[in-house]
């Protein structure tokens, strides 16, 4: 082979190398957020004890966002969700919130737990940024400052605890029970209200067992429940913790226990992660919507795999209402720190143009004209009290049959 031929070939290889290097860098990253986007913060638990909830809730939020954007956005501006992970903990949620606040959102949707909400509210109240909590509700330990509204679409843990106690005593005819729970405002409030109401009605609490944080085995807790002699066990804990406890408890007794479960355990993830048949017949209390919406369920199934969870209805409504409020807020002549909160009030009026969940395009058009709106969402019509609490309360009892969650009855 001549020297020139070798040189030529070496050049070919070198050129290929250079071209390849250039091509390797030519696949683009995704487009960034538009500068004029309407920004809403979304705090969800993608990791930690409540990780099972984050992805589900986000699906509905994204559907609402896409519904808004595919209808042309808000006067041409895209709705952008700035999503962060709470890690199911207040400490991480605070830094996640601060990261969202750097982007100057109009409102924050979330978090999943009232203990986390308690940690976030001082920051948000200080900045006058509304917090819209789709499934989290008030806690006795939370005090709001004057004129600040914390928007809550779901009933409080205490209300649900009392309602469940009524169900246990009156309908399920349970006369004594053991309660098993973890720390966290929701669980403490739920169990506290449940036990208090249950005892008021004449029932007996035989054991009260707190499951330790960061524990993977609960043999001591199982022993305590066993010793209580009660056959009815009420559990309020994050899904993974509950699944571990129930898994261990179910092997430790000859008589099958009757399981009663908190609203946060209404997820297919629970039976999926519990040993076969153990939870069949278990009952729980949950949030309810006026009626299952087949159109929404179809759209959901077309876009996502996995079971639609009730909480998703609430998250859809939270994002939809935020978009409507953003449309009103856009044309406020002299915006103040509270004008977005006022706009939120203006989309949840008793009287006004009724806008359904699947009619956001018309809703935004009317909102841009500052018309009063009565949003009637997937969870029904929304009407807030003076503190931002949804006044309509609809709850239901669900049960587990053949490893699947099915609705039993509305309360």
């Amino acid at each position: 082979m001549t020297l020139s031929a070798r040189t030529k070939m070496a050049r070919v290889i070198a050129v290929i190398g250079i071209m390849a290097s250039l091509c390797i860098g030519c696949i683009d990253d995704p487009a960034p957020m538009p500068e004029d986007a309407v920004k809403i913060g979304l705090l969800l638990p993608f990791t930690g004890a409540d990780a099972s909830l984050g992805r589900s809730y986000e699906r509905a939020a994204l559907m609402a966002r896409d519904a808004v954007n595919s209808a042309g956005g808000i006067d041409g501006r895209k709705l952008h969700l700035i999503t962060r992970d709470t890690n199911s903990s207040a400490e991480i949620a605070i830094s996640a919130l601060e990261s969202i606040l750097d982007e100057a959102p109009l409102a924050i949707i979330g978090p999943e737990d009232s203990e986390i909400a308690r940690a976030l509210l001082p920051i948000l109240q200080n900045k006058r940024i509304p917090l819209i909590s789709p499934v989290t509700s008030g806690s006795r330990s939370i005090t709001l400052v004057k004129d600040y509204k914390w928007y809550r679409l779901a009933p409080s843990a205490a209300i649900m605890g009392r309602a469940f106690a009524n169900y246990l005593w009156l309908k399920a005819e349970i006369s004594d029970l053991a309660v098993v729970y973890t720390t966290g405002d929701f669980h403490l409030d739920f169990i506290g209200a449940l036990v208090s109401r249950f005892e008021e009605l004449g029932g007996t609490r035989r054991a009260s067992v707190l499951l330790g944080d960061g524990t993977f085995s609960f043999s001591d807790a199982v022993s305590q429940v066993q010793m209580s002699g009660s056959e009815a066990i009420v559990v309020s804990a994050p899904v993974e913790v509950a699944a571990r406890f129930i898994g261990e408890a179910s092997i430790s007794t000859q008589t099958p226990w009757s399981w009663f479960l908190s609203p946060l355990l209404e997820t297919p993830v629970l039976p999926q992660n519990t040993y076969s048949g153990v939870l069949d017949g278990a009952r729980g209390i949950g949030l309810s919507v006026d009626a299952r919406n087949p159109e929404f369920e179809q759209r959901h199934a077309a876009k996502w795999s996995g079971t639609l969870q009730i909480g998703e209805y609430y998250y859809y409504d939270a994002v939809a209402m935020s978009a409507l409020a953003a449309a009103i807020h856009q044309n406020v002549d002299d915006p103040t720190a509270d004008s977005f909160s006022e706009a939120l009030d203006q989309v949840a009026l008793k009287s006004g143009i009724q806008i359904n969940w699947n009619d956001l395009s018309r809703g935004i058009a009317n909102a841009l004209e500052k018309k009063d709106i009565a949003y009637s969402g997937l969870t029904g019509s929304v009407l807030f009290d003076k503190h931002g609490q949804q006044q309509r309360v609809v709850q239901k009892i669900w049960t587990i049959q053949d490893g699947k969650i099915v609705e039993d009855a509305q309360l």
Partner: protein, 719 residues
Amino acid sequence: MLSIVLALFALAGPQATAGDTVDDDISEAIFDASLEELLATPMEVWSATKTKETVDSAPSIVEVVTAREMTIWGHSTIADVLQNMLGFYIIDDHILPNVSVRGVSGGLGAQSSIIKVLINGRSVSFKSTGGNWLGPELIPVSAVERIEVIRGPASALYGADAFLATVNIVLKNPEALQGGILRARVGNETDVLGTSAFSDHDQTYDVTLGGTRKDWSFLLSASRQRETRDGLRLPTSSPAPLIPHYNADSDVSSPVDHRSRVLYTELSKTTSRGFWRLSGYVSEIERSGEFSPWTQLSRGTDDQGRSVGTTVHLVHTVLGVTTQLQASDTLTFDLNLSFFTGGPGNSDRIEVASDLFFVEREFSYHGFGSTLEMTWNAQEWISIIGGIEFLFDHETLPVNKRIDKTTGEEIGRTTSLRESIDLINPAAYVQAHMKIIPEFFTLTGGLRYDHHNIYGSKITGRAGSVFLWNDYVTTKLLYGSAFKAPSPTFLYAAPIQPGDTIGNESLEPQYVHTFEFAPSFRPSERLKLYTALAYNIILDKTEFVPSGVNVEAANVARVEGLSFEIGAQMALEDLISAYVEMELQRVLRDWGQSGYSSQLMGNRNVMSPPWIVRGGFSSALPLLTHLPLRASTTVMLVGDRRASAENILENQGPYTLPMYVAWNASLMMIDMEWIDNLPLTIALRGYNLLDSKVADPGFNGIDYPRLRRRVMVEAVQTF
């Protein structure tokens, strides 16, 4: 030189099938060839087209590693070979090595299922996971003659799972062996001063026996390895480990053995018009699951004084029958039958961090595969291969039994959505290989149709053109497509504990299209330059992705990858051999969904390094003229590896594991004839000599520590 060329060309023979017999002269030719002669002579391969081709003329990017090269460079497993080969990167999860190809990893529990591994042309995958075991449990090293590795898809010939690469291990020819090889290897991890860090030693023993008598030949090979993997530190980068409370204060793995056992045997008879062969294969792994996906560092004594810990114990068996009939000078028929079975062994137990129980897995598979293939050398310029295949796999799906830690009795179980499933896959394929302009331009085209009872029909194809411009320059332009069927684990996995993996019955097969351009250049007999540019597009890429508290198998849409590989090899007689290679991988993922997780993970690649540089140098040391002393060293620089998607989520942000340097070296005496005609090889080998304490990306909230410095002594006696 000419004799070497002739011998190498004759390696596969006119009626060769994978691992078909090679005669004495050929083996000796390879054996006697100097490193320079081996470099100058394009080695023959079978795997690329199922006909004899040289590595230069084969319509694939194919590399061959001989047993001698494995000895020189210190490779003791197929995983070692691949780790040192362009386009591959191995992550050891301390249960099995898991390979990435051109920047694409199979993900959690993939067990190298993105490649197809064959022993003498027969698949030995563990069907339930589709996994390929690449460690010492795959095949005794003493039985290996050479390893043919094809980068790129090869489903058109090999069906499902020949997805991103195909590895065919060709075993020693009994006729050439006529005796045996005994190999022993002992060693240990060492601390800075070189003293043993642990109380026990790694030990590998393997033996291969082979011979012929009249028309009969036999090969028997067995290996047993025991390796200590204690003292490995859980990487601090691990975002969410799950350590049982009785070991909560520990971050170091406990002293336990990793055991691997494998047995391979075959009996052949040549006939006037072909041959037939019976083969048997049993492979077994027993691993402590100190870095298992369920719990980590679980080995020890719990609060009640019970001995606890995860052990992964799996066994599988393949029995084969092969027969070849030379119907005429131009027509050959091959019939291959395989019977396979596998499942967990007696010691399998999974710790789930419960004080009350552990989990015993119960699942199994058995079935058979058959291939009838016709090779028709219709004309001198064209050969056609056509075949039909049938695969039947009965999978008994996992039942996870809870076993009381105190009584040892079963106290409940979880079952999969189904008890069992039959997987049935008939297929037909055809390939034409045409020498359009002899000695200059060849064209190869192939098409394959598979019909699976679960996910329907799939068509794959390949096309390749090879230009042999002159004696020095070759270019290849290649296209191939392949599909990877979802394994039963991906389809039906039931959580062993809360948070574990969940199967997905609606999974689609993954599908890859690959375009490759590969020029090579031999400016002299002492130097070879080669490069390849490959573009992969993978559709419906399947991985376990976070789903609530669990991880669920999902088709995560689309992965695109551009791979640039370049290298040079040189050899000077038998004195010096050296190579330097570099690869750049640019892989982007479209997760197919919007939202926080995909935003957090971004579209950048995970798991595999974006670049690797490898180099090796080996030289004879003429210090003592009567001893064949040789030294070799290899260095591998590996770029940052981005954490797995799951761990990025757990970490609430992307993170990378830092680049590292792996330096290995060997000092050896090869084929020292201390007794006449009984060559002995003795080697002192050091791995990770810099003792780089680095980690590789892992799953389920942990990263995996790489092995520490190890020093091994190896002796190979041929008799």
